[in-house]
Every structure is written in C-alpha cells, then in structure tokens.
Assembly symmetry: D2
Homo-oligomer: 413 residues x 4
Amino acid sequence: MNPERLKRKIFNDPIYGFITVPDELIFELINHPWFQRLRRIKQLGLTNLVYPGALHTRFHHALGAMHLMTEVIEVLKMKGHKITDDEARGATIAILLHDIGHGPFSHALEHSIVEGVSHEAISALFMDRLNKEMGGKLDLAILIFRNKYKKKFLHQLVSSQLDVDRLDYLKRDSFFTGVSEGIVSSDRIIKMMNVVDDELVVELKGIYSVEKFIIARRLMYWQVYLHKAVLSAENLLVNILRRARELALNQKQDLFCTPALKVFLYHRYTEKSFKKDPNLLSSFAQLDDHDIMASVKVWTGHTDPILSMLCKNLVDRNLYAVELQKKPFDIKRINKLKQQAKALYKLPEKDLSYLVFSNDVSNDTYRPDQLQIKILAKDGSVVDISEASDQLGVDLISNTVRKYFLCYPKALR
Amino acid sequence: MNPERLKRKIFNDPIYGFITVPDELIFELINHPWFQRLRRIKQLGLTNLVYPGALHTRFHHALGAMHLMTEVIEVLKMKGHKITDDEARGATIAILLHDIGHGPFSHALEHSIVEGVSHEAISALFMDRLNKEMGGKLDLAILIFRNKYKKKFLHQLVSSQLDVDRLDYLKRDSFFTGVSEGIVSSDRIIKMMNVVDDELVVELKGIYSVEKFIIARRLMYWQVYLHKAVLSAENLLVNILRRARELALNQKQDLFCTPALKVFLYHRYTEKSFKKDPNLLSSFAQLDDHDIMASVKVWTGHTDPILSMLCKNLVDRNLYAVELQKKPFDIKRINKLKQQAKALYKLPEKDLSYLVFSNDVSNDTYRPDQLQIKILAKDGSVVDISEASDQLGVDLISNTVRKYFLCYPKALR
Amino acid sequence: MNPERLKRKIFNDPIYGFITVPDELIFELINHPWFQRLRRIKQLGLTNLVYPGALHTRFHHALGAMHLMTEVIEVLKMKGHKITDDEARGATIAILLHDIGHGPFSHALEHSIVEGVSHEAISALFMDRLNKEMGGKLDLAILIFRNKYKKKFLHQLVSSQLDVDRLDYLKRDSFFTGVSEGIVSSDRIIKMMNVVDDELVVELKGIYSVEKFIIARRLMYWQVYLHKAVLSAENLLVNILRRARELALNQKQDLFCTPALKVFLYHRYTEKSFKKDPNLLSSFAQLDDHDIMASVKVWTGHTDPILSMLCKNLVDRNLYAVELQKKPFDIKRINKLKQQAKALYKLPEKDLSYLVFSNDVSNDTYRPDQLQIKILAKDGSVVDISEASDQLGVDLISNTVRKYFLCYPKALR
Amino acid sequence: MNPERLKRKIFNDPIYGFITVPDELIFELINHPWFQRLRRIKQLGLTNLVYPGALHTRFHHALGAMHLMTEVIEVLKMKGHKITDDEARGATIAILLHDIGHGPFSHALEHSIVEGVSHEAISALFMDRLNKEMGGKLDLAILIFRNKYKKKFLHQLVSSQLDVDRLDYLKRDSFFTGVSEGIVSSDRIIKMMNVVDDELVVELKGIYSVEKFIIARRLMYWQVYLHKAVLSAENLLVNILRRARELALNQKQDLFCTPALKVFLYHRYTEKSFKKDPNLLSSFAQLDDHDIMASVKVWTGHTDPILSMLCKNLVDRNLYAVELQKKPFDIKRINKLKQQAKALYKLPEKDLSYLVFSNDVSNDTYRPDQLQIKILAKDGSVVDISEASDQLGVDLISNTVRKYFLCYPKALR
C-alpha cells in the first residue's frame, strides 16, 4: 500500500458526493490563502436575498469544475486520446484558477469602486504571481488558460460554450437555488464528449442533453441571474458603493472601512496600477464579502442621508421596486418618478439617480460566431449544434434577449 | 378571485421546493430587521471549513421549520384534532422565532465574549420586544413557546425530542453538507404524527422512521457537529475572541472592530445587563457573521503575535491538529506539547493555552428522562419509543457518548 | 380523534414521497379489479429494453396524476376559487380513470390485434360500467371527463396541453428512465396555476417553468418515447402479433394463448363489438402484460419460422437495426434490403415486411390550434404562451417534427 | 481514436446515472439469453403490491452491483493495490452472475414447486455451463465466486457482510420503493475501502457510513422485506403454488400452464435432478415472472374453489389479514380462526391451512461469527466494526429479531 496515496484529500460535495483532489500540487494551490479566500466570496453575490439557499461560494464552484475536468479527461483517455499527466494537471489547474480574480460581489464592484478592472485581468495577475511562487510549475496551465497550448481542445474544456465551468455552475446554481429548471445532465454530456481534429465535440447520442443545456442556460438567466429582485439588490449595492466613493473621494469624508476596502474606496485604480504596484494585488486579495457587508452595515448609521438610507434598505432587504420590459422606459415616466422621489426624500436633483434609474440587461446566449458546440455524427462528420438540432433553430439559439429595467423606491409605487 | 390570496409570499427552498408563508402577520415578522438579520448568521458556524456547502443560514432553517409546522398542523387537523387558526398561527410563530436569539458563531461567542448569556434568554427578550411592537399579537405564540398554553402538544411540536426544529435541521444540515447519513424522512414522520391525551405521538407505522431519526441524529453529531476539524475551527475562534478580549479589556489596547462588536468586546455583560438596558439588545441585533469575520481578518495584521497568528490560522484555514479519544488525555502529554509550543513560539507560560488545550464534548442523545418520543400502538396504547422498538434498546438510545479532544499546532505533530 | 380519518390509505411513491387517497369512494375505485389490473400494465411498454428502470405501471401513473389533481385543487381553493367537494371528487376520479382503457403494450396492440379500437373508447366503456355498478356516483366525474360540465377548467386539468396527466407522466417517466432531461417542476407550475373566466391559466411568474415543460416534453419524445431502439422493439412486437394473428385467423393454426389473449387473437373486433357484447369488455379487462409476454415466450418454440424467429428476437433482446432520418427512405434501398433478407432467411416475398420495413413517427408538440396554455400577466390580461414567451417562438413550439425510420435484421448491417 | 472504445455499451440507471460495461466479454455475458431473462424477474417479487414502484429487476440489480465493483476496484488500485485486468474482470463477472440462478418469485418457488433447490445451486450450474460455452473464460470468475482464489478480498467484495451486492440492493430497493430509510452512502463506503493482509477493510473515516449501512439494512428488513402485507402476498403465492401442485401431482388434474411451468409443477425435482439432466436447467431458464402470473390469472377461473379463490385474491390484491408479534401465536386462537374459516368457506379440515396459518420470520443481521466488517484504524490496526463503533454494541448489531406472523382471510377480522 502506498501511504502517499492514502493522503489524497477528499471534499464533501452535496452535488457530486465527493470531490477528490487529484494531485499534490493542486492540493497546495487549494490551500493557498489566495484560493482559500474564495471561500468567503459567494458565487451569486446577493442572489440569496431572493433564493435563500444561494450561498455557495466561488471556492466550491472551482472545486466542482475541477472535478468535472478530471472526469472529462478520464473519458477522453478511455476513448483513446492521448493526454499526458502534465497536460491533465495543466488543464485541471487552469479550470481551478479560472475565477481566482473575482472580488466580492464582482458585478457590483466592477460597476463602482474597481471600475475598469476586469476579474479576468486580475485572474491573470494572480496566476502569474502563483506561478512565480511555485517556480514555474503553472507554466503549462497558463498556456492552456490563454489558449497558447498546441492542443486546443484542452483550452476548450476550460473556456468555450460547453466548458466544465458552465457545466458546473448551472448545476450548482440550480441545486442551491432550488430552481430545478437549470439542472443539466453533466454526466451524460461528459460521457459523450470526444475530440476530433483537436476540437472538442459531443457525440450525436448526447445531442438532446446539449439542447437541454442551452435551454437551461437561457432559463437560468431569466429565472435567477437576471431575476428582477436580484437586479434590484445588485443595483442597490452599486449605488451604495458609488455614494460611498462620492463621499470618500469628492467630499473627503471619513467612512468606516476595513483596511482592504479603504484602499479601493479612497483611490481610483486601473489595470495598469495593478501591474505597476504589486502590493495592490495583495490588498485586493484581502477583500471579500465580509469587508463589503460589514462596512455597509456600519454605514446604516452614517450621517449622509442617502448613504444611510440605501444601506438600511440593503441590510433590511427593503429593495427597490423593479419593472422589466422589452422596450426602453419612457423618459417622461422616469423623470416623473424622479420628481416624486425628490419631493418625498428632499434630495438635490443630482442625487436622484441613486433612487430612480433605468438600465438594460441581456442574457448570455449561444453565439454561433464564437467557438461553436460541435456535434459528432455517426458517419464521423462534425457539425454545429444549430445545424444538428431539430429542436433548436439557430435563430432561437443565438437570439440574445435584451430587457430594460426600471428601479425606484417602493414608496412611489 | 381574492387578490389578497394572490399576494402570499413564497420562498424557494432546495429541500421542500417551496415554502409558503401562511399568514400576513408571519410575513411581517419575517420582514422584521431582527429576523432578516438571521440571513447573515450561518446555521453551522465554521462547519463550512470542513463541509464547503454548509453555508445555510438560521433564516433558512427557521423558514423550513415553519414549513414543517404548517404541515404537521394540517395532518393533525385532518385526523380530527381541533386546532384553531389562532393556535396554528401561534405555534407557527413560536417555531419561526425559536432561534431568533442566536448571535453569530453562537457556540464560540457563548464561550468567549458573551459568556453566560444564553441564546435562549436572548430569544425570549426579542420575542417580548416584538410582541410589544406588535401590540400583543404574539401573546399566544409566547405562551406556546414557554409551554404555558393549555394544549401542551403545541409546545411539543416546537420543542421536544421529536420537534419540527430537529426534523428540519437534520434534513437541512444533511442536505447542505452532503452527508447523506443524516437524511430524515420528515414526510413520513409527520404523516404519522397524532395526538393522544394532549400528547404528541407517532403512530406505530412510523416507528422505523423514528428509529432512523434517532440514529441519524447520533451519526450527524459525530460526522458533522462534532467533527474533529469543526471542533478545531470553533476552538480557534473561541481563542481568538478570548485573546482579543484580553487585549481589549485587560491590556486596554485598541482593536479594529465594527461598532456592534466593540460593544461586546470591550464590556462584560450578563443576562441582567440585557434586561436593564434595552439598547444592549439593539446592539446585539446588529451583530452577525460579518462583524466577526471582518474583524478577525483585520486582526491578522495586529501587533500582538498571538492574536495575529491565531487569526491568520483561521483565515487561511490552517487549523489545529486534533485528536479525539474516549479517555481524558494524559496531563503529561499536554504539558509536554505546551513546552514544545513554548520553545517554538517563544510564548509566556500563561498564554500557552491558546495553542495547546484539551476539553470534552458529548453528543446530544435521546433522553428517556425528558419528554419522551411516544408511539401509538394499534390498540390505542401509548408507549415510549425505547420500549416499542425492537431495534434500539433504551441503553443505546439514551447512552450519551463523551469524547475528549486535544488541540495543538500542526507544527508540533 | 376521528377513527374514520385514520383509515386514509397512503401509497408510497418514490417521486412524491406519499400519495394520500383523498376519499372513500376513490379508494373503492382503486381497489376495483379493473383498476388493480393497471398494476400489471407497464406505462412505457417495452421501453425497459432500452431504459431498464422504466418498469413503472399505469397504476402508479394514475395514482400520481390523482395526487397532482388534489394539489392543484387545493391551490385553486386557496386562491379563492370555489370548488365544491363533489367537483373536487369528480375531477380527481376523472383523472384517476383517464387511462383505465389501456391494454397491455397499448400502442403495439392497437396496431395489431385490436386495430381500430382506441383505448379512449375503452376507457369510456369502463367508466360507464363502473358508474352503473356504483349507482351513478361517477356521473359528475364523467361529465368532467367528457367536457360536458359547466366549469370547463376542471376538464382542462384532466386533459389539455398542461394537464396533470402530462405533468405526472413526464416527471415519472423521467424518474424511472433516469433521463433527467424530462424533469418538470410540477410543484412550481401547480403553485402558479389559477383560473380566469373559467379557464386554466398559469401566472406569469411560472412562465419559465412552462417553457421548460414544453421543451422537456419535446426532448422526452426523441430521447425516450421515440428512441430508435424503443421503436425497434415496439415494431417487433407489432410484427409478432400480426404474424400470430395471420397464423390464427387465416391459417387456422392452434397457438398457445392465455384465454384472454385467445379471444382477441382469434377474432376481429371493432368498437361496435364492444358496445354490443358486454362480455368483450370483461375479457379485455383480463388482458395484461403477462398474457402477451407469456405467449410470446411460448411462441419462440413455434413451428412457424417467422413467428419463432421474431419471438426469440424479442425475448433475447435481439432487436432490429434501426435508422432514423428526416426524409423518407429510398424505396430502392428498402427493396434491396428485402432481397438480402429473402436470400438469408429463405422467406416468401409476401412475408419480407416482417423483417424489413419503414414508417414514420412524429412527436407530439404544443398545438396552438388546440386548447392553449394561457399565461396570466400581472395586469390581469391573459395571453397564449407562444406570445408571452421570449424564449420560444410559436414556430418552435408548434413545429411538429416528423422522422422516418427503417428497420431490418442486424445480420444485414 | 480507438473506434473499439467507442462501442462501449452504456446503460441508463436512475441511481448511478450511467453504468458502463467495462469489457467485451462482460457485454457478451449480459447479452446471453440466460442473463437477459433476469429482465423478466423482479428483484422484490410481490413487494410492488405494497410499494408500487418496486418493479425493478434482478437484471438491473446485477448491472448495478457490477458498476459498484468496477468502482471499488478503481479505488483499491488508486490506493496502490495490485489488481490485474484478469482479476478485475473475474471479480466483475462473479458479481454480475452471482444471482443468475434466481427463478421468478424465488422465495415463493423455493417454498413450493422447486422446494429443496436453492438459487445458489442453480447459479453455480449456470456459471459452469456458461464457462463451458465460453471456452473456460470464466475460470477465474468462478474461482473468485467460490472463494478458491488466492486473493481472498476479491471474494469478499462479491460476498461478505459489506459486499457490493448488499450495497447495491439496499440503495436500489430503497430508491424504487421510496423508503428513504434504506439509503446507503455507497459512494462514501467505497471511497473508504482498503485492503490489509488480503482482507477487505473500511478506513476509520468511513465508520459512520458503515454503521448507517448496518442500521439501514435492519430497518429495510422490517419496513420492506418483511413488511406484513408483503409477507401476506408472498404466502398467498406459496399457497397457490402448493395447491396447484396438489391438484397437478396428487389429483392428476389438468391445469393451464406455460410449458416451462408445467415441467416444474408436474414433477418433483431435486438438485441432483438438475445435475443429471442438463435439459432441466434449460427449462428452468425459460421460467420467469410471466409464467407464474399468466398461469395464476387463468387459474382464477379454475373449478377448484380453493385454487380459484386464492388466485382471485392475489390478482385483485385482496390479501390475507396479517398480525405480527414477538411471541408465537396461541394455538387455540389459530384453531378458532380455522373453524371460522371452515364454517365460512365450507372447506375440509385438511385444506384450512391454505387460509389460516402462522409462521415466523427473522431479519438478516450482522453476524459477528461470520466474515466480519473490519475497520482500519489510523495506527494501522484492524478491528471488527462491533468493537470500533461507539454507537452500536455488538449486542445490537448481532441480535437477530425473530417475529411471528398469523395470516387469515380478512372476512374473519
């Protein structure tokens, strides 16, 4: 008996039962403080205000995606494709770290205090730093992540329209929200995966599961990710952070903050700043959901009436009223609501947009112009899903739906 | 169509599918900031460091228990028992609010900064205040909660050895941890519930489910609630808070704190203090997981080497080594470990107990001396489960298992 | 305690947990030999040859649909709609008995030995006979079943494009086959059901679940109901019964048969025959899966080479090769295969169609020309799902897909 | 890409998702008519009369056990144990075929028309015949099955107190009945399996799952396998077959029978007969559930009043009343019931035992005197589960519970 083997770390997961860490190096990465930090960042931000079970973290999702990656690799090897141990490890690390750059309430932060700094850019920085720390052991993983490695299908497993990232998050978000619409047969899809001419394909037998996956993704968008109340909550947080920054930067007021949050609230940084000053990344690495929420809670008592009102509304879950429709909202209606808000809350004109605002959202759809989902027919030919499917016309599949929402205080309803 | 009815609030729940709020008053309670605060308090504290899915909150559990209560009441009414609408509402409110006094990381806090103040006492205070706010509408709920109401079986549904509290938390904890051992057939048990002579009983047909419930509870204790690494994490937090208080109170040092945490870190309060000063309860109502974790994160940079080391260990999930055994640990061994710790960490003797310590834990078992689980035989007779069961002797059922654990830094292993 | 109530019969169901029989009269119907007979008729015929778990019966499905009916009725009553106890019982009985006319391997039988006699016609006869037996107690149920009752929405619950029949069978077939594509959120759909102007509607909040339901139905068609190997098996049974009847009727040969099967194998009956001779229905009521399979097994040893070959093929699961395509198969190819079969099996020309044949199938889709699925918008307006849905154009929804299949012996492959 | 690999047969399974056939030879075995026959033999006989979902077959269970075997083998190999491809195939075939000797309604048949011929003996005969057919390719599988192979742990996986047979059937029976009490964490147990000194052990971390497994097994016995109504149904079938044989053998009456059933109804065979006459095994291989049920249905019209009454009772699910108790029933009570039956049904004394009878049953428990379940402690020592467990004393574990049941016509109740 090899005692080394016995030490394999196992995580409990209500979805897959167990997740086995395949490798010592990967275990080391999981234990790194930068990765552990993902334990404190919820995958779906404020969605738990609508679906109370949606508290799962980016940590858990990354482990889940890693698990699916090891499964795909096993399936492909069984089908006769050569994947070396190094390549397997590289692809697995690439998916494990694909989201490591996410900050807390990523969407809200990117629209407020770290505007212009994408989580993708931060992920890249984290990976490079980790690679340096580990003496270049992540070289291959990074090549795969950036699609610079010769075997392109490995990158497609990490990032394409049918990657293990999407397979895990649809399944996981569906599980924890309780929205069974999003259930995806990841098992079946994975068993049907194959590679032809260095391209990831799904065997014809799996076509219905792929169709279901595309539909599930669309439905999850409207039922969960872009749910009205979720939009309302997220925009409330955006406004809170915008207001806090206004007070901090322009009005030079002193706000209670955790030190890590202070760094970003009181300065405007760009991607360049991160590249210049390595300490910035270290500061970012200290931010998580607790910094935001602990500060918001304290701000409920702030003297600025706008900040304190918005914060109370978030903490007590008193969200904006929201309307969602297919056409832009009439500007007159918006202005009328603003005037009502002005009267009711005694606010200056320029601050009314904290209370009444409109914007648009659109779902992420299958994009036939991008890396397509390919189906492997019995005769060995490979066609795009939109051609292979009887059910889904390319129109349906590729049709992005844009909707407009309007938020305003419930008191104006 | 009654438009009133349409407004019934529904919560999504991955366990029961949907949870319907049965009542306007109850909906009002759920929306109260004191109840909403439970959204920010995890049911299982730090257990997610071991079972990453265990992030569910006391809010979600309280809703789940409320749901089961409405189901039991329906079953009992269908079996011909008279339960008025007021009684139904009262029992439902009693279970909804049964845990409202829990603070963040309850167990750890009760062993450190709010020592001597039980969450039961705080729950009682919250209920009284809510009742006053609502003009006495909670009178009956409070009578039931305190077992002062004439129909005793209603209290038994709220608190006994087979109450809806336990039914929900075993099921929920089992679901979110992924430990299928704890799955409990709450459906079956509830369908078999009945009342005889004002006492809650389970019909004989449900005996196997009750046996399973008792076994599941025991197994969940050792597999989850008293899991070694969970003990390790909880005791790490206890030590962090003990150390922070030592610095705050005795050494008069200034520690970063959210205002709500500061109140409790810098003073010693008793249950009496809460009764005297109503503001104290309001402060307590502002505490949640974020206050603790945001502060702990900042303390990782504190100048006190003990505090910063302990905090780093928690944040980076570098837990104590733990051993668990049936006998107390040899005092010599403990002392030896302490001396090793002293040498390694250069600490004064009196602070070694932050690093090396031993204590005991025991599972919560079926207590035949307390409110028993009663089985209703076909002939109408009622007997205790320990008599009715072929499987479980009273010995097994009532046998509390005590275990001793020893924690020390992994570096000493 | 009302002892009457205690006697409520409960069925265990792996899908809903428990199914409670709501009523004494309904319990009596379930116990009737004609209903018990459905225990011996598989819901999905020979599908278990492809999905080994698909052994569930029409009995179980009828109970499940009954369960959903009691749930919908409860929801509608809670929303303020008046449904009397008699109406509730009537609708429940109507759904319970909706499929009582199914014989074993219904599809195969209706294409062979009971050609021209639909299971709907038989269901109607059974209901009338039961009603007579029970002194008219089923009057209202029959009115509802035939859409002759004034409250039309009750019929819509029994039979429309979103009835409890479909809700249960998609869920049940999906569960027992293990094809998670078909999972339908019956819970959510039912909670969102409502009635406007005597018409069943789904509230807007439930629209995604309805979309999912429509998609699930389509996918289940191709993945399960019209799966190639299922088509192959069913057509094999059709050919066996056609051959057996040819031997029995035209060649006057003596075939081993259970008495009930003999009645139908050795005569040609029409719906009229059933109406004329009440004994015929009693004979039909004795037919179930066992009659067919026990006889087929014996026929594996019959002297007719075609019959014995076909029967051996079914019993040993040596199915036809099948091809499925969107265009009709080339008649030349079919003829060529027939000639090959002729050469290999030494059969006369006229019998080649037992071995080589082509036909078409099409899925059951949403039919906008029939009873539509109506969505209730927030403003109280009611629109068809195909208008309300962003996701599903009416084209997609209503587009029946027809496919052609070709079967031939595997030896010719 | 190795096209060979692509041909791997996959079965859909609602429990494990997919079951992959690991091997060409194994696929051949699964396709053998003797194995396909298990598709027509329900795993739990008449249990579906109580749990309507319990229609799963011995075919499905055998595939499931095969699946678990491939998983265990993978786990053990990963832990550094050497298992050759031949050994893996051998163990897998051994478990696949372990129940191939089961006839329809095994328990009932072994107590009536094939009395004295155990299914184990028949399994052995089938395996030998298959081995001969396949030119000795099953040699190693048979050695493992008979515990004659040097690596004993392979046999323990096939047959011991914690074998994959039990792991699958508890899980499967639990799934299809809907009795969640029997759910077993096979995943967890398998991940914790190991081998020490050629003995199968479970690592200490898995102890709670093993405890749960032992409890689940006990509960499944009383809740499902020995459920009162199941006992009633099985004994009804025993009596039907006893009566049919009495008429056939002693009274020389002609009964409708399928040919395969006729062979066994009209003769008394022993294990020796099977060994002498190879045709007997071929006849047995033609028997399945359909032969029994099709014949029983015809016998409902037989002139013998006892046979026809018993058969009607089974077909219409009009089961005996049953009582279950811990002590033998009073002989006086039994006799009194017999006299009542005599008066009511006008039967001769000697035939009363078809209607009124008593017997005992006992659950299968953990047997410390047999192959024990071994736990591997952290220090490398190996102890029996009954010693390692805090929860389960050896008393509880090994305590066989015997119960007595009494059956009589419901009319006498």
